[in-house]
């Protein structure tokens, strides 16, 4: 057995009112790839913050290479050769790739001025090691997410990192970028770097790990060798309960066409591709769940935005809602016509963090809760409690801060906000992103219920198994073109990936 490079002993972290970590004890061996799995709120991020010196107040002990450490800052952790790649990337978009890699540790000339050529040369060498053909002088903000992530890895490498923490690194990557990341990880491991890998995705975890530690409610459930376990077992340990299985046997009865899209195109001014979406045709029926598959940048979000009147440009082509041609220039018109959209980026585009749970739920339908020009608070309360009860939103009260809810429950309040508008068409843009396993299953059940009640649902997702679970039909987008349409019976991951990677 290899020497442990990190020993975590009885680490406990308390926040006011919550215990984020309790008596966490486990070892990370030198040179291994150790995955940390757990639902949202299990304490993964808090643990990583302690290891990387972001969180400095905690109980318990942390040994790195046998020495007791209490990091006082990320710099302190970096000097112990621990670096972290956060899920939310920390780049200065206005600076060049090279400047980002050497941020805070800039190379200088003899006169004390910035030595840009030296930094660019060094950056180019680091990026070359990572299979990344980005020029070091490119602005970080203009890079694709996958390349931005490699910049962060390059930064970690420039620090001579021995322990690299990666927090859900594939969450925003295309398949090709994921494959490249796997190669980079292999190379890092060949150089003896120990990797702590945090992920929800069982396929990655089982592909990469040597050992897996499962956290639940701030405690270590178990540390297992990959060979001794299975994805089913890990999921089970993460959730600690049986996941509600979807009743797949009952096919949803679909009704008449609600939405018909003919030759829909969305221009992309100033871009070589010219079109974000090009000549899209499809129909959506009552009671149907239509899945939209596609890689990052394929145009999934843009398609939903066109239907919702939220696109950056005016779309061309025809959108027929119940046979009548519509063209919305503002989401308020779409809302009035019976289209609802739950946006992808919940934190940035969904929740109102200064408002409470109830106010977040009533946001779209306040006009209907008016009496004599003022908000009728009794009607508002009734609507809110209807949603909280029907969708089983777990909240202390309707007056609780929305930020006190878990990701899944926040998502339910946003869906609830739109259900109150009694929409004919519900557009869900990656609704389970950042939602834990148990809450995902609840959201699937909810979608099915809504469809059964006659709502037409369109849903996008970056996870194919999810689409295959919920959808009656799946459309595949590739670089703005519709490249495939599969019924539930026909669809397989293989076929969808093939369509999604068509040129």
């Amino acid at each position: 057995m290899a020497e442990p490079i990190i020993e975590i002993r009885q680490v406990t972290k308390r926040f006011p009112g919550v215990i984020a970590l309790q008596d966490v004890t486990f070892d990370v061996e030198t040179g291994e790839l150790h995955s940390i799995c757990g639902e949202n709120g299990a304490g993964k991020s808090t643990l990583m913050k302690i290891l990387s010196g972001v969180e400095t107040q905690y109980e318990g002990e942390l040994f790195v290479k046998g020495n007791l450490k209490q990091f006082t800052s990320t710099r302190d952790a970096e000097s112990s050769e621990i670096s972290i790649i956060h899920q939310e990337l920390n780049l200065v978009e206005e600076l060049s790739a090279a400047a980002n890699i050497f941020l805070g540790r800039e190379k200088r000339t003899a006169l004390g001025f910035l030595d840009n050529p030296a930094m660019e040369t060094a950056a180019a060498e680091l990026l070359r090691q990572l299979d990344c053909d980005v020029h070091p002088g490119t602005l970080a903000g203009s890079l694709r997410v996958g390349d931005q992530q490699l910049l962060e890895i390059a930064r970690a490498l420039s620090l001579k990192t021995e322990i690299l923490i990666m927090d859900e690194p594939t969450s925003a990557l295309t398949e090709a970028e994921v494959a490249r990341l796997y190669r980079v990880i292999e190379r890092l491991r060949a150089n003896g770097v120990t990797i702590l890998y945090i992920s929800h995705k069982m396929d990655e975890v089982f592909r990469l790990s040597d050992r897996i530690t499962v956290l639940r409610d701030g405690r270590v459930v178990q540390t297992l060798k990959k060979a001794d376990t299975s994805p089913q077992q890990i999921t089970h340990l993460m959730v600690g309960r049986e996941i509600e299985r979807l009743d797949q046997s009952v096919p949803t009865a679909t009704g008449e066409v609600v939405l018909k899209v003919e030759d829909l195109s969305l221009p992309w001014p100033g871009h070589a591709r010219k079109w974000r979406l090009h000549n899209i045709n499809f129909e959506l029926r009552r009671g149907e769940i239509l899945g939209i598959a596609g890689l990052m940048g394929a145009g999934r979000t843009e398609l939903l935005e066109c239907l919702f009147g939220a696109s950056s440009e005016v779309p061309q082509g025809k959108i027929l809602l119940e046979g009548i041609q519509v063209l919305f220039s503002h989401p308020s018109q779409a809302k009035a016509a019976g289209i609802a959209m739950v946006t992808e980026d919940r934190k940035r585009l969904g929740i109102f963090s200064e408002l409470d749970v109830g106010q977040n739920i009533s946001m779209c339908t306040l006009e209907q809760m008016r009496k004599g020009g003022l908000i009728n608070s009794r009607r508002e309360r009734e609507s809110v409690s209807e949603i909280v009860n029907n969708l089983r939103v777990k909240t202390a009260s309707a007056q609780s801060a929305i930020t006190s809810l878990s990701g899944g429950n926040q998502q339910k309040t946003i869906i609830g906000r739109w259900l109150l508008t009694k929409p004919k068409v519900l557009l869900l843009d990656d609704p389970t992103r950042g939602v834990d396993v148990g809450a995902k299953a609840e959201l699937y059940v909810l979608m099915k219920q809504l469809a059964r009640q006659g709502m037409a649902v369109m849903v996008t997702s970056s996870e194919l198994p999810e689409l295959l679970t919920v959808s009656d039909r799946i459309l595949v987008l590739s670089e703005g073109h519709l490249t495939g349409s599969f019924s539930r019976a026909e669809a397989t991951e293989q076929k969808i990936m093939e369509a999604a990677t068509l040129g």
Binding site: H330, M341, L349, I351, A396
Partner: protein, 413 residues
């Protein structure tokens, strides 16, 4: 984090800012009364004086705070006050000459309808400037800071140009427009008129922000504009409303300031008042990030600012207006620090002068304190002594705090 079950505790927590400010007002007032007997001997006059100026400030502070809550900023209030006063006086001056062209002093006795229409026109001009701001911000795409900064600089200049032109056409070029009318002067001479106007403005704003859909939408837009738009909220219309409220309340204040002195004077009226309005909003608990703040807080913020300014005036006597800026600056820092630190666990225990920046800041603060006690009658030596004492006290505190942290760190390791 956890919502307290006790409704009283909930109320106290929600209105902490207001409660602290009320106690602050009482404390400052009481303290001043002990030092200076003016508050006791001329109690009624002084209370009326404070109420009047609280109201004058509060009227446009409420407008400015609605802009802040909605996620913007309005820097134009001070110039809008001057422009509003000018618009009102100019309308009266022009209309009265049309009505009584042969009178020696046409503004001496103006029919009531002229004053009423001048007030209406002034408020309309407020709406026009607000609309212009909205256009610059939503269509041209300027940041609110830049758009309203342009009017801050531009409107005062425009008011002066118009004043000189119109007075010249009327016979004698001047920098002011005088209105001799008693009725117009009455508006400004009575302490309760600004109070009534303030009560109406603040009351309407409170209902708007707390009881109406529009108000909820303003909070939502201030907190997350993108999410508000994607919830089907017409954010451009809300911005129009917010910026119009910002400028039209300043226009109303401009009428009152002009009627108080019986003239409009673009060169001096309302200079720097935009910052007083923002200060009142911030002291009252508004966040400049938007989405946070209450009208009751802003009302108390305006009152607290005026009480402190007035108290300093009583204690110092003549020349006290020189200290207004210093006081407002200090209060803004203290209020925001209070809001932020009371939300943190370690809050006030934290080391305020750590490391090198601490050693650089201590002499700066000491010099500022020393400079602030300089008077024409006193000497430089006195200021230097005060600075030296401050320096000694702060350094002592810093060294003590430094030792406490190193010991705390040792006991950890």
């Amino acid at each position: 984090m956890n919502a307290p079950a006790n409704p009283l505790a909930k109320f106290l927590r929600k209105y902490l800012t207001e409660i602290v400010l009320i106690f602050g007002c009482i404390l400052v007032f009481g303290f001043t009364a002990l030092i200076n007997d003016a508050y006791v001997s001329r109690f009624q006059y002084n209370v009326q004086h404070i109420i009047r100026y609280t109201s004058m400030l509060g009227i446009f502070a409420v407008g400015a705070s609605i802009v802040i809550i909605s996620g913007g900023i309005d820097l134009s209030s001070g110039s809008m006050i001057a422009f509003g006063g000018m618009t009102c006086c100019m309308t009266i001056s022009i209309l009265s000459r049309l009505v009584a062209p042969d009178s020696a002093d046409p503004t001496a006795d103006v029919p009531l309808w002229i004053i009423a229409s001048a007030i209406m026109i002034t408020m309309l001009v407020g709406l026009l400037v607000g609309t212009l701001h909205t256009w610059l911000i939503t269509i041209v795409g300027l940041p609110p800071f830049v758009a309203t900064l342009a009017s801050l600089v531009g409107l005062r200049s425009l008011a002066l140009i118009m004043t000189k032109a119109v007075t010249a056409w009327q016979g004698q070029q001047a920098f002011k427009i005088n209105i001799q009318d008693e009725m117009f002067g009455f508006l400004g001479s009575q302490w309760w008129i600004p109070l009534v106007v303030f009560a109406v403005v603040a009351g309407t704003a409170w209902i708007l922000m707390n009881k109406t859909v529009t108000g909820r939408h303003l909070y939502a837009m201030g907190g997350n504009e993108q999410a508000a738009k994607l919830s089907g909220i017409r954010t451009e219309r809300l911005k129009w409303l917010a910026y119009c409220l910002g400028t039209s309340t300043a226009a109303i204040a401009g009428i009152l300031f002009s009627s108080e002195v019986g003239s409009s004077d673009p060169q001096t009226q309302g200079i720097g008042y935009e910052l007083f309005a923002i200060a009142a909003a911030v002291v009252g608990g508004c966040s400049l990030q938007g989405g946070v703040g209450r009208i009751t807080g802003v009302v108390m913020g305006a009152m607290f600012l005026r009480v402190v300014i007035d108290a300093v005036a009583k204690i110092i006597g003549s020349g006290s207006s020189d200290y207004e800026g210093l006081i407002v600056g200090l209060l803004v820092v203290l209020a925001v620090a209070f809001n932020q630190l009371s939300g943190q666990r370690q809050g006030w225990k934290k080391q305020f002068f750590p490391g090198l920046l601490g050693w650089m800041t201590i002499p700066i603060i000491s010099l500022a304190v020393g400079a602030s006690v300089l008077t024409p009658e006193g000497s430089l030596g006195f200021g230097l002594t005060v600075a030296a004492i401050t320096l000694a006290v702060l350094s002592f505190l810093k060294v003590g705090a430094d030792m406490a942290t190193t010991q705390g760190g040792k006991s950890h390791g």
